[in-house]
């Protein structure tokens, strides 16, 4: 990252309890435009919980979120979507029984309204899907193919296409390459790099050092629900980051 870009999202002192368990304690996070932040940590370190707080799926027990410098309280994922934050879940959060296009627009389908009734605009869904998949250079047989008929890599591509279909500012990806065949990993990483170039802030949660060092500009480590370490990628090494994951500095 050569210049100092606009701060898109900031989490300050986020704390989350589940009953008596403390999943996150005073965690801070910042993401700028065109930047990729890698978030690492062992299982149970709080990565997924933090992302679910950012996307509005969980409400933080304490702490605050700032979008474009303004404090916002998220009631549901819909609120974070409206603020330009999109999430690509590890389990992909796609409905296998629906076609690609309907998955990309699920929850935000273009409609033709007739009084209270909202009819789906299938033609527009198809047009927008073809255009968007084309823009991201994602190849599928047809936008009408059901998602359950796709390979793991194609599903990941659909999930990323879904996250970027509405001019997202920040995209969070949870283990984007974990379920992929090796030859498909490169394509997804290319997709992340091209998102960065369009000014999107990308947060990547990953266990794979190869991924982190291929696309990220900055890396932060969570350990037992707290900020453990953070660094520009150029100022650290794989061994050091792996040490952070284990709780060693």
């Amino acid at each position: 990252m050569s210049s100092i870009n606009q701060l898109l999202l900031e989490a300050k002192s986020v704390t989350k309890y589940f009953g008596t368990i403390t999943a996150l304690e005073n965690v801070n996070l910042k993401i700028h435009a065109g930047e990729c932040l890698g978030v690492v940590g062992d299982n149970g370190a709080g990565k997924s919980t933090l992302m679910k707080v950012l996307s509005g799926l969980y409400k933080p027990s304490a702490g605050s979120l700032f979008f474009d410098g303004k404090e916002k309280i998220l009631e549901s994922p819909k609120d974070s979507q409206n603020l330009g934050l999109e999430m690509v879940y590890q389990d992909l959060a796609l409905a296998g029984n629906l076609p690609i296009g309907e998955n990309i627009f699920l929850g935000r389908e273009p409609t033709k309204n007739l009084g209270l009734l909202k009819f789906l605009d299938y033609k527009k869904i198809k047009e927008l899907t073809d255009a968007h998949l084309g823009k991201l250079k994602i190849n599928v047989k047809s936008a009408d193919q059901k998602v359950e008929e796709l390979s793991g890599g194609q599903r990941q591509a659909v999930a990323i296409a879904r996250s970027t279909a509405f001019n997202a500012k920040v995209v969070i990806m949870d283990e984007p390459t974990a379920a992929l065949a090796i030859k498909e990993v490169g394509k997804v990483l290319d997709l992340i790099n091209s998102l960065k170039q369009t000014g999107v802030g990308v947060i990547v949660i990953s266990h794979r050092m190869d991924d982190i060092f291929a696309v990220c500009d900055r890396v932060m480590a969570l350990f037992q629900g707290t900020n453990f370490a953070e660094s520009e990628l150029s100022k650290t090494s794989r061994d050091e980051v792996i040490g952070w994951i284990m709780g060693k500095k």
Partner: protein, 337 residues
């Protein structure tokens, strides 16, 4: 060898979507042809065909409601009881001398409210599965129906109230005989099924119902208010059971305590035979209609041939198991591993 497998696979992929969509209609047509050859004089006669439609009229409403619930990967065991309670309320309101347009609306409202009760119970009380909530209301609604009526039949409604279940559309102006009439209930089935076909396939809410059945987490993550959609689905299911009550009132001219006993199982059976998957997200309105018709024709045909009703039970049960086995195979083959 691999090539052959691929060829087989691509042929399979081409045929499968059609088979999945229209296979059940094929089965229906085969049944009709077979019945026609077994009973050439009677089966396709005007009288018998209209009879089949009259017999399936109220079941088809329950099945349609349960179908929407099954698409969300839920279940509604209470539809028979909702229908009975709605019918009893209708009978009491009718006996109290309310004008016909009030009497006609009562079961629809009662059914809707029962469904709303189910939906709110499932979502607000966070029941582990809709099975439990609706098993509870299966007893609650029927018990309430018996409480308000004293457990005795209430008979005698006006012609207006009985119109949907009992009315006849005269076709003599088409040059047909007086006996060749169109039952109003048949027209009602057609209208309701077309409306719900449009609802499930063309509207956003319908799409969300399928999405919830396909992957509730995906639906939630997409910002869909899953609980609200579920409440709508269970309420509509109740509403359709209310329509069923209105039709039954017309057909039997009576509110009686055993109305709709075990008909929730018939409704579920029709959905399953019609290709709706218990895993959720799969099934069509057309399929449910075919499922209802297959059960109706099976009963009618076996009656015509004087086969004991015990055999009917065995046959319907066998068809259910077979239909679900086909669903399992379809799922195994249709999904990439």
């Amino acid at each position: 060898m691999e090539n052959k497998d691929q060829e087989k696979n691509s042929l399979y992929l081409k045929i499968m979507p059609y088979l999945e969509k229209y296979g059940i209609l094929l089965l229906l047509v085969i049944m009709i042809v077979v019945m026609h050859f077994l009973q050439p004089d009677v089966f396709l006669s005007w009288r018998n065909v209209t009879n089949v439609f009259k017999q399936i009229s109220w079941q088809s409403m329950l099945a349609l409601g349960v179908f929407m619930v099954i698409v969300t990967a839920g279940i509604d065991l209470s539809v028979g009881s909702i229908m009975m309670l709605s019918l009893m309320i209708l009978a009491i309101v009718a006996k109290a001398g309310a004008p016909w347009y009030i009497v006609v609306i009562t079961p629809l409202i009662a059914g809707f409210l029962c469904g709303l009760f189910n939906g709110l119970g499932i979502t607000l009380l966070r029941m582990p599965h809709p099975f439990i909530m609706t098993l509870g209301t299966l007893y609650i609604f029927r018990g309430t129906g018996n409480l308000i009526s004293g457990g005795t039949p209430i008979s005698g409604f006006t012609d207006e109230v009985r119109y949907l279940g009992h009315g006849r559309i005269d076709l003599t102006w088409l040059g047909l005989e007086k006996s060749q009439y169109l039952p109003v209930s048949l027209v009602l089935i057609a209208i309701v099924y077309i409306i719900f076909w449009i609802f499930m396939n063309k509207t956003r809410t319908g799409k969300w119902i399928y999405a919830i059945g396909g992957n509730p987490n995906a639906a939630r993550a997409s910002g869909i208010n899953v609980n609200k959609i579920l409440v709508i689905v269970y309420s509509l299911c109740g509403f359709l059971s209310g329509i069923g009550a209105l039709i039954l009132a017309g057909r039997t001219d009576s509110g009686y305590p055993n109305a709709g006993l075990q008909s929730e199982l018939d409704a579920i059976a029709a959905c399953i035979i019609g290709g709706a998957s218990f895993f959720g997200g799969r099934g069509t309105v057309l399929g449910v209609f075919a499922g209802v018709m297959i059960m109706g024709i099976l009963r009618n045909g076996l009656n015509l041939m004087d086969v004991s009703s015990f055999w009917q039970q065995v046959l319907i049960g066998s068809i259910i198991v077979l239909a679900v086995y086909i669903d399992v195979l379809r799922r195994d083959l249709g999904t990439r591993k």
